[in-house]
Symmetry: C2
Subunit: 213 residues, 2 copies
């Protein structure tokens, strides 16, 4: 299991330079909120802000921020996608995802190259601690970010996403170029892993976990 922000509380050493933080979110509220939360911390030097993946990559390249907080859904772009662009532009940046409703599995976040996940409902001090921990090189994942979601295979995710659109198994099959029977197997696997009984409940759970948009 991942190390958590709480594992090393507030007594973090001043590990060198003050942190430059990049915030990537298209919501003004979040932008201002994080800026206010972090700007007051003495160990933060500057808060950059990007409203798109394009902007984020650009700012990352020019600013080389120590830490980047990336929303899971920025307009049409996905968090992992943007994470990749940031790392391409500035490989040393520690990226963490941040989101309100949605969740992302620790495994999926790591696969995208991220070092953490910060739920938006965390209190200010916890967010600050998390950012500081990221700057210090530690990973920050809340407990239970893993859980059932992580175990879904790529194919199962595909099927789940289409199920959420109301597609029938036959439609999913032709859409993914599969046999209807295969679709049912993937669907059944999804139900088993998410511990639900049918499509409706699966969609409900998936949205809570942030598996579908």
């Amino acid at each position: 299991m991942a190390s958590t922000a709480d594992s090393t509380p507030a007594e973090l050493t001043h590990d060198g330079p003050r942190l430059r933080v990049l915030i990537v979110d298209d919501h003004d509220v979040v932008h201002w909120g994080l800026r206010l939360m972090l700007g007051r911390q003495p160990w933060v030097r500057g808060c950059l802000h990007a409203r798109s993946g394009e902007e984020a990559a650009d700012l990352a390249r020019r600013g080389s921020p120590h830490v980047a907080l990336v929303d899971l859904f920025v307009g049409e772009e996905s968090g992992p996608e943007i994470c990749g662009r940031i790392l391409e532009a500035s490989p040393s940046t520690r990226v963490a995802f941040i989101s309100g409703a949605g969740r992302i599995s620790a495994a999926a976040a790591r696969a995208a190259g991220a070092r953490g996940f910060v739920p938006k409902d965390w209190p200010a001090d916890r967010v600050a601690t998390a950012v500081r921990a990221l700057g210090a090189g530690r990973s920050v994942f809340p407990e239970a970010t893993d859980a059932p979601a992580a175990s879904l295979s790529p194919r199962e995710r595909d099927v789940l996403e289409l199920i959420a659109t109301g597609a029938t198994n036959a439609e999913i099959a032709s859409s993914l170029h599969l046999s209807p029977h295969t679709v049912k197997e993937h669907a059944s696997a999804v139900y088993r892993k998410l511990d639900v009984r049918n499509r409706a409940e699966a969609v409900q759970r998936a949205q809570r976990l942030g598996l579908v948009g």
Copy 2:
């Protein structure tokens, strides 16, 4: 259709006293964000902040804020519920709901006594304009806040909520003390009104619209 914030742009007159604003949200990011957005406005006098319905009612009673921005989901409590408590404590307060993912129909918001709805993805200036408009006594509803959701009858909502839990029609029937056939009729009505084909898509849509938690 409701009057929109844009209908009267930035040239709002200084209509008397500077506004006291109450923010009800359990997310720190939102709290700080709104505070920063609004605190810079010359026509705002103070930002109160509550993390629960209890606290909100208390602050409303003692502070009589001109405007209250209430999250749709504050912990276990619902926005409309909290709205009622605020209005009870301070009838002159103009309450608007604010939420990220979820939506609430203009009709439902009005039924709860609210005067507006502010999506969290609005830019700072738009939020500011909305709050100012609320303070001036106007309603603020974005277009398409109405739409299909408003037309759902109470019974249809009941059925929809249970559908989202993965319950079968038979289970819903016994749970609501109805005939399975009646449940199917309500379900069909839900599908028709939400313009979806089946349960899975209905759950997806319902969660996007904020009809189910």
